[in-house]
């Protein structure tokens, strides 16, 4: 059993940056944006936030889920450096599909905690709504359909057994929902309503988040379609089932975007512009797609590790984020973390208590089903939101009670799990 050791020195977040999550090809103002510009914008945004410049940064990490397909690059860290003033400085690329952005923080924290570097930037970019045009400069891109994308998701699964065994790459859409319904004795219609309520709550949050992809609330969509009750709309053919339980509203909205974070030793952090947010610890687990109930088991292990290391108790968590490209993640991970009471979390969701204005807020930016999913960048977009919430800088979507301690549960990449605990520095 893995026992995490303490960091050699404490590490804090001093800056965060994020682009809007968007369909770049769909508007004249964004059509033609490139990976370098998106990554560079997020990195420079994080530097401005921290009050540092590129010359102050020692090293950077670059995350992208699918650089060959999405950017026609094998070494994508090399192609972005000049865009944010880091020419000549060292960097490493990493790729853990949808978990990339969560592990981007892990990489940066380890690099500073080891003592090797003082100020490290970690950024991620994905242009998941379009593909490069072979032989053309980077600003030429073409649309990338959901159908084409789904055909590529098999790339995160083992070729020896998981793909040939026919189940691993697809059971993930419904496995967690079925398990939750079974363990908590929820009927099919009850679990359907719970999943729909999570989508509604996510969208309510996104409606108040200026960087979110999709900001029109489901109640307004329902009214436009002639439904008096939003839940009737959610159960209707306007929101078809794509799996046994999963509906369209519970699936990720893949899109384009980038985000970045800057960290330094906590002892230096007060020199910079913002109130520092300390990274107390990050737990990790991974189960390949052939393994049963992998999300549940992996989350349990990552959460166990980080609680054991940090001695933080579940009741101390004020704010929770989960990578919910399959909406069920949002509920099951919050229960596993003890943020919502076991077996009772679905009631909190149905009552709207997990929206930004509730007492147990989850995914205050709208999560993957509304903020959007620029695959690698999503984890850092959640971190951006968490840090802004912890500083009290979220305007009308600011949660009621200023969060002191936040957990982020990462998930993705056939499949990595992580659990990060942040705390506002004293």
């Amino acid at each position: 059993m893995v026992k995490l050791g303490s960091y050699s020195r404490s590490v804090s977040i001093i800056g965060v940056g994020c682009t809007p999550f968007m369909y770049t090809l769909d508007t004249p103002e964004t059509d033609g944006l490139t990976e370098g510009e998106l990554f560079g914008y997020a990195a420079l945004d994080a530097m401005q936030d921290a009050g540092v410049e590129a010359k102050d940064i020692d090293f950077y990490f670059h995350g992208q889920a699918s650089p060959k397909m999405g950017s026609d690059y094998l070494t994508p860290n090399m192609q972005v450096a000049d865009w944010f003033g880091m020419r000549g400085k060292g960097s490493i690329h990493h790729s853990e599909a949808c978990c990339t952005g969560y592990l981007a923080l892990d990489q940066a924290v380890n690099a500073v905690a080891s003592g090797k570097f003082d100020i490290v930037l970690s950024g991620c970019v994905e242009m998941a709504d379009s593909l490069p045009v072979p032989g053309m400069p980077a600003h030429f891109r073409k649309k990338f359909s959901m159908e084409e994308f789904l055909a590529t998701t098999v790339w995160i699964y083992d070729r020896a057994y998981t793909r040939p065994f026919l189940s691993g790459p697809v059971i993930v859409f419904d496995d967690a929902a079925a398990l939750y319904a079974k363990e908590n004795k929820l009927s099919e219609s009850q679990i359907d309503d719970v999943l729909n309520a999570m989508s509604i709550n996510n969208r309510r949050n996104a409606a108040k988040a200026p960087l979110a992809l999709c900001r029109k609330e489901y109640k307004d969509l329902a009214a436009e379609a002639g439904f008096g009750d939003v839940m009737d709309y959610m159960r209707s053919p306007h929101n078809p089932k794509m799996g046994e339980y999963l509906r369209v509203s519970g699936m990720e909205l893949k899109c384009d975007g980038a985000a970045a974070v800057i960290v330094c030793p906590t002892e230096m952090a007060s020199r910079f512009k913002q109130k520092p947010v300390k990274v107390l610890g990050i737990g990790n687990a991974a189960f390949e797609g052939s393994q049963v109930h992998l999300e549940t088991r992996g989350t349990q292990e990552a959460v166990r590790q980080v609680y054991e290391l940090t001695k933080v108790r579940p009741e101390e968590i004020d704010l929770f984020y989960a990578n919910d490209f399959i909406i069920t993640s949002h509920l099951i991970s919050a229960e596993i973390a003890g943020y919502l009471p076991k077996g009772e979390g679905w009631k909190y969701i149905m009552e709207g208590r997990t929206a930004y204005d509730g007492d147990k807020p989850i995914n205050t930016n709208g999560g993957r089903t509304s903020f959007g999913h620029a695959h690698a960048a999503s984890g850092l977009a959640d971190l951006y939101e968490a840090v802004k919430q912890m500083r009290g800088q979220c305007g009308e979507r600011q949660v009621k009670r200023l969060p002191r301690t936040t957990m982020l549960r990462g998930f993705g990449g056939g499949q990595n799990l992580s659990a990060t605990i942040l705390r506002t520095a004293d």
Partner: protein, 134 residues
């Protein structure tokens, strides 16, 4: 420890009608599908062992639009299932004979016995499972 072609041996064995796993000589745990070393005790001395084909389905979901692949239509109706072999290993696979008509009954009876069947796909054979009792 020897460098050997485990994946090829597994699929070659299916051609001969045998479902093979690997047993750890140190702790006795079985790895299925077979891999190089033991994930229970980290042992590296492994031996090939034939699986009985007896198993139980512990959980399942029915395929939907996203998860029902056209290339598997000949196997319908089936569930996407968690299966535990008599020898111990658990993994995701498919179990034939599960449909909306018998879903509620099967959910009430979990875990239910299943039995392995070797089937031909396009260029190779794989293992799937059938309900042991219809």
């Amino acid at each position: 420890m020897k460098l050997e072609r485990i994946v090829k041996t597994f699929y070659d064995s299916l051609e001969e009608g045998k479902i093979m796993g690997r047993r750890c000589k140190r702790c006795g745990a079985v790895e299925f599908p077979p891999v190089l070393c033991c994930n229970s005790c980290s042992g590296t001395e492994m031996e090939w062992v034939e699986m009985s084909g007896k198993a139980k389905m512990t959980d399942f979901v029915l395929p939907g639009i996203l998860s029902a692949k056209p290339e598997n239509e000949d196997l319908m109706p089936y569930s996407l299932a968690c299966v535990e072999l008599e020898e111990g290993p658990r993994f995701n696979t498919i179990v034939c004979g599960v449909a909306r008509r018998n879903k509620a009954k099967l959910l009430n009876e979990l875990p239910v016995p299943v039995k392995a069947r070797i089937v031909q796909r396009n260029g190779y054979k794989i293992v799937i499972f059938d309900l042991a009792v219809e």
